[in-house]
C-alpha cells in the first residue's frame, strides 16, 4: 500500500513531462551541442542495431546466402566496388554493412546485459554490506579490494577462460554470448558495490531510516523501500560511463578470440577479422567496424560524463 502512495498518480504524467522540460538536467543538455551530437549518434547506432533484421541488406548469419566469390569486395564508391555491397564485403563474402548492423546489435546487447547484471550484483552486495556493516561488510569490502587490484579486462579474461576450461569448448557452443555477459558483469560489479555501500552507510544513519526502524519496519523493507531509491543516483551515472567500457571490453575479448565465434560477429570479432587483411590493402574490413566501435564508445562516454557533471550539485 505504501508503494502505491510513493508513486504519484499516472494522471500527472503531463506534469511530469513539464517537470522534465523545466529541469536542470534537460536545460544543461540543451546547452551543450557536443553532448547532443553524442547522444544523437549513440541513439542512431542503437536504433540501427536494434532494427538490424529490418534494415540490413542481407542476413550475415544465414551461411547459405554467402558466396565466397563475393569475398573482399571494396566499398561501392571505389574501383571494383559492387553496388550490392555499400561498404564492401569481408573475407567470407558477407556484406559489411549488414555484418556491422548485426555486430553492433550483439555488442550493444552484451554491453547492456552485462551492465545490468553488474548493477544488480553490485547494488545488492553494496546495500547488504553498507546496511548490516560489521563482519559481512569487512569480508565483502576486502574481497572488492582484491578484485580492484586486477584490471577489469583481466578479470573478464579469467572468468571467461575458467568457464571455458571447466565446461569444455563443446559444452559452451551456443552460450558464448551469455558467458561473455557474465564475465564482463563479474569484472564490473565492484564499482557499483563500493559506491552503493558508501551511500548506504550515509543513508543508514539518516533520521528517516531511524524513523522507520523505530516503528519496527523490517530491515529488508528499509533497504528496498527507503535506502535503495536514495542510492541509485550515482549508479545510473557509473552505469552510463561503464556501458562504454563494457562495449570496449566485449570488443577486446572478442578480438582476443574468447568472445563470440566468427560466424556470429560482434564489433570486436569484425575488427579481429579485418585486422588480418589490413596489411594486404583491404582496409575497409577493419576500418568501418573500428569507426563504429570508437564512435559508439566515445559518444556513450560523453553522455555519461555530462550526466555526472549535470547531476553533481557542486558543479552547478
Amino acid at each position: 500500500m505504501v508503494d502505491s502512495l510513493i508513486k504519484a498518480p499516472r494522471s500527472r504524467l503531463m506534469l511530469r513531462l513539464d517537470a522534465i522540460r523545466d529541469s536542470h538536467l534537460f536545460y544543461s543538455f540543451t546547452r551543450s551541442w557536443i553532448v547532443m551530437v553524442a547522444a544523437f549518434f549513440a541513439l542512431l547506432i542503437v536504433a540501427a542495431a536494434a532494427l538490424a533484421p529490418l534494415i540490413a541488406p542481407s542476413n550475415p548469419l544465414d551461411l547459405a546466402s554467402l558466396d565466397l566469390m563475393n569475398a573482399r569486395i571494396p566499398p561501392r564508391w571505389l574501383e571494383n566496388g559492387d553496388p550490392q555491397f555499400l561498404l564492401g564485403t569481408d573475407d567470407q563474402g558477407r556484406d559489411l554493412l549488414s555484418a556491422l548492423l548485426y555486430g553492433a546489435q550483439v555488442s550493444i546487447g552484451v554491453a547492456l546485459l552485462s551492465t545490468v547484471l553488474a548493477i544488480l550484483i553490485g547494488v545488492t552486495v553494496g546495500l547488504i554490506a553498507g546496511y548490516y556493516g560489521g563482519i559481512i561488510d569487512t569480508v565483502i569490502m576486502r574481497l572488492t579490494d582484491v578484485q580492484l587490484t586486477f584490471p577489469a579486462i583481466l578479470t573478464a579474461l579469467l572468468v571467461n577462460g575458467a568457464t571455458r576450461a571447466i565446461l569444455g569448448d563443446r559444452q559452451i557452443q551456443g552460450s558464448e554470448f551469455w558467458i561473455l555477459v557474465v564475465s564482463i558483469a563479474l569484472a564490473f560489479w565492484v564499482k557499483y558495490a563500493r559506491v552503493v555501500r558508501a551511500s548506504t552507510l550515509q543513508e543508514r544513519n539518516k533520521d528517516y531510516v531511524h524513523a522507520a526502524r523505530l516503528i519496527g519496519v523490517k530491515s529488508w523493507k528499509i533497504i528496498v523501500h527507503h535506502i535503495l531509491p536514495n542510492v541509485l543516483g550515482p549508479v545510473t551515472i557509473i552505469g552510463t560511463i561503464s556501458l562504454a567500457l563494457a562495449i570496449i571490453t566485449e570488443a577486446t575479448l572478442s578480438f582476443l578470440g574468447v568472445g563470440l565465434p566468427p560466424s556470429h560477429p560482434s564489433l570486436g570479432t569484425l575488427v579481429q577479422v579485418g585486422n588480418e587483411f589490413l596489411m594486404s590493402g583491404e582496409w575497409w574490413i577493419v576500418f568501418f567496424p573500428g569507426i563504429v566501435l570508437a564512435g559508439l564508445a566515445l559518444s556513450v562516454n560523453i553522455v555519461g560524463d555530462w550526466l555526472r557533471d549535470a547531476l553533481n550539485p557542486k558543479l552547478r
Binding site: M1, V2, S4, L5, I6, A8, P9, R12, T138, K206, D207, Y208, H210, A211, A212, R213, L214, I215, G216, V217, H226, P229, N230
Partner: protein, 329 residues
C-alpha cells in the same frame, strides 16, 4: 498543559540508571597489532528520571552532555549498556510477547532535529505519514488510510492535498509539521522530541512549539523534550533535568529550576542565556568549556569550572540526592 507536580498524575515513563559506554578502540586485529588497550567513553552515566502522563520532561545540556544519546536509548534506537526504560509499567526491550512489543512500539514515537534528513526525499508526504499506519496495520484499505493521512495533515496545519507532494516542496517548518504528523499517525502516548526546533528560524520555532503544546493538550501526549536552549525549555517543560558530561546534575520543576537553581552549572547555564528584557548586558562569570568526554575530570565533572569547588569535589563524585548532584547543595 497541566500544572506541574500534580502528585495524583500517574507516571508514564520511568528511566532508571541509564548508561551508555562506547568502545572507541579499533577492530580487534588493530588492538592486537598496535598493542593498544581498550579505550572507552562513557556518554551517559547513571541517568534516572520519571515522566508523568501528559507532562513534558525536558533534558537540557550542551554538546557532549549525552542528551541525544539518552533520547535514542529511551526509544530503543540505541542499545543500552545498562539501565531500564519502562513505559506504562512495561520494560522496553524485554522479552514481552510480540503483541505487547508492537503495542509498545506504537505508543512511542520520535520527532527529529533536522526535518531535511528525517523525511525520505523520494517518498511523497502521504506515503511518509502512512508508513506507521500501514506497518502497524492500524487501518485497512487504501481510501481509509488516505483519509486518515488527510486528517493528520489538517491536524498539523497543512492541507490534505499536500499528501501527493514531495518533502523538497516544503519549507523547514512545514517539513517539521509533516514529521509531527508521521509521529502522530500511530496514535502514540509518548513522543521523544530531539531538538525539534533548533534547525528552524525563530518565528517558525514559535509555530512548532505552539503546535506541539496544542497537540499535547488535545491528545494527552507525554513529551520527552531534548534541547540545548533553556528559554525554549522554559516554555514547554513541566520538569527539567540538566545534564553535564553524561550525568544528571539537577532535576526540578520548571519554575523552581529557573527561580531557585541549585547546581552551580545550572546557575551558569541560566546566566549565559541572553536576556531580551535587559539589552546591553553582557553575561558575566562564565568560564571554561566542556571537557573532552574521553578523559573527563575526576570527582564532580564540573569542578574545574565551578566557582565553589572544594578539594572534595575533585575526588568524590557527588551522589544525586533530592534532585541535585552537588556536595554543596
Amino acid at each position: 498543559m497541566k500544572s506541574q507536580s500534580d502528585d495524583i498524575t500517574p507516571t508514564l515513563v520511568t528511566v532508571s540508571k541509564l548508561r551508555k559506554v562506547y568502545d572507541l578502540s579499533g577492530p580487534w586485529l588493530e588492538k592486537v597489532l598496535a598493542g593498544k588497550g581498550k579505550q572507552t567513553v562513557t556518554a551517559v552515566d547513571n541517568v534516572s528520571f520519571d515522566i508523568k502522563r501528559g507532562e513534558t520532561f525536558a533534558l537540557v545540556g550542551e554538546s557532549g552532555s549525552g542528551k541525544t544519546t539518552v533520547a535514542r536509548m529511551v526509544v530503543g534506537l540505541l542499545e543500552r549498556t545498562a539501565g531500564e526504560v519502562r513505559i506504562d509499567g512495561i520494560s522496553v526491550g524485554s522479552t514481552a510477547s510480540a503483541g505487547e512489543r508492537a503495542r509498545l512500539r506504537r505508543s512511542i514515537q520520535m520527532i527529529f532535529q533536522d526535518p531535511y534528513a528525517s523525511l525520505n526525499p523520494r517518498w511523497t508526504v502521504g506515503a511518509i505519514i502512512a508508513e506507521p499506519i500501514v506497518t502497524f496495520g492500524l487501518i485497512k484499505g487504501k481510501a481509509a488510510v488516505a483519509e486518515r493521512v488527510g486528517e493528520l495533515l489538517t491536524l498539523v496545519g497543512l492541507s490534505p492535498a499536500d499528501a501527493v507532494k514531495y518533502p523538497h516542496q516544503f519549507s523547514g517548518g512545514q517539513r517539521q509539521r509533516i514529521a509531527i504528523a508521521r509521529a502522530l499517525s500511530s496514535n502514540p502516548e509518548f513522543i521523544v522530541c530531539d531538538e525539534p526546533t533548533s534547525a528552524l528560524d525563530v518565528s517558525v520555532q514559535a509555530q512548532i512549539l505552539n503546535l506541539m503544546a496544542d497537540l499535547q493538550e488535545r491528545l494527552g501526549l507525554t513529551y520527552l523534550f531534548i534541547s540545548h536552549n533553556l528559554a525554549v525549555v522554559r516554555h514547554v517543560a513541566d520538569q527539567i533535568g540538566v545534564l553535564y558530561l553524561g550525568r544528571l546534575v539537577e532535576i526540578a520543576g520548571s519554575r523552581d529550576i529557573f527561580e531557585r537553581p541549585r547546581h552551580p552549572y545550572t546557575k551558569m547555564l541560566i546566566a549565559a542565556v541572553p536576556d531580551l528584557e535587559d539589552p546591553g548586558k553582557a553575561p558575566e562569570g562564565i568560564v571554561g568549556e566542556i571537557p573532552n568526554p574521553v578523559s573527563p575530570p575526576t570527582g564532580c565533572h564540573f569542578h574545574p569550572r565551578c566557582p565553589l569547588a572544594m578539594d572534595r569535589c575533585k575526588i568524590e563524585v557527588p551522589a544525586f540526592r533530592d534532585g541535585v548532584a552537588c556536595h554543596l547543595a
